[in-house]
Symmetry: C2
Amino acid sequence: MSYTYDYPRPAVTVDLVIFTIADDDLKVLLIRRRLEPYKDCWALPGGFVDIDESLEQAAARELQEEVGVTNVYLEQLYTFGAPGRDPRGRVISVAYFALIDAERQRIVAASDAADAEWHSVFKQTKPTKQGKLAKLAFDHKQILDYAVWRLRNKIEWTTVGYELLPKKFTLSELQRVYEIILQKPVDKRNFRKKILAQGQIVELNETRSDGAHRPARLYSFRKK
Amino acid sequence: MSYTYDYPRPAVTVDLVIFTIADDDLKVLLIRRRLEPYKDCWALPGGFVDIDESLEQAAARELQEEVGVTNVYLEQLYTFGAPGRDPRGRVISVAYFALIDAERQRIVAASDAADAEWHSVFKQTKPTKQGKLAKLAFDHKQILDYAVWRLRNKIEWTTVGYELLPKKFTLSELQRVYEIILQKPVDKRNFRKKILAQGQIVELNETRSDGAHRPARLYSFRKK
DNA sequence: ACAAAAGTGTTGCGCTTACACCCATGG
DNA sequence: CCATGGGTGTAAGCGCAACACTTTTGT
């Protein structure tokens, strides 16, 4: 079966920037390419949009297929369509970003099969002198940079930060998420005031002990 | 000549939300459809993306073809791709918004030929009891609403407001642009303080008389 | 008892808001 | 001289940033 059109049509894909927090860093999920072009480079997960699914459905499906998670925070980022961005032909790619919390992240690690790997966005993993992140295929570096920029803005205005944490968390953990994403230290007292003032999290009657110090109170996010 | 693919491909278009200020209102350029579907409805101008041009080039080309202007403010908005949005088949549309200043706007009025017309976004033009804006084709109402939302945000953070005015303008004119877009009154003194503090406009040695009152000082925008 | 992270208030400053009168002009 | 929009300053309140010590636990 094949399809014929009077005019050439670009292929349309979705590409995913999937973030999580681990090892005290922001991580992005990348897939090692086994084929040309950009063989052996790392790339964002993505794939073609089916003819009868919405863009968001396509993104959610990719998320399901490639990393086995559903029902995560997903947001359209931007559409990249420069003619030369894929050497195989005209490909227009609608980029999404997704946030995966620390619990689900283990699921991803499990389905690790298909050459998918979490890469540090800011830290360099190994003490080599190389740049922070492996070279990315296509224009995926640009997409990633844009996603980081968007995440940084968004975290200041909204409550997306909570999407990166498990259901129960401490305020110190939440603060650390902000510090990692913004890449700058945050004042503890001001941070707590700001967060509590938003009225979006609930104090639980529960604490967590974690070493030789005072246990931390747990909170949870109040989804509307 | 025709093109054959193994899998069905969506068509890709750009749609334009072209804004200007006129008659003390925000106006959007709409085109009357002469063909089905949505015959005789109003629609956003738009068209297919050529196989060898970037999305932004396609948007700029449409702007040139449909309304005859070049070199205007143009920004990607969002990509709409629900399967049923065009009854003729799968069409993915990358929406852009453009801002046209009062000078260029006359050019548009001139090339008025092709059923293009400026429509008030907020006011109702005629004293009928109809809603503010004619019914739009496809999901164009949704696109327009999103564009208005984005413009409102953007005007508070950036200097896009200047794109809607001619090179020389008075502070009252600029203030009126803000009031029209935000649909709320703005305090004159605070507005002037804020705008001047941004250091983005230059006071000219020129004034403009306009009726039986003190002439207004002219300013111009300092593009970086 | 000590090390280590949790938790907690106050102050100063800058930005935003509210607000009212004189100025320059045309008719 | 009067109507019309142009132009100007000040005071109060609010949100944000800076800053240090006590509490609770494990070892």
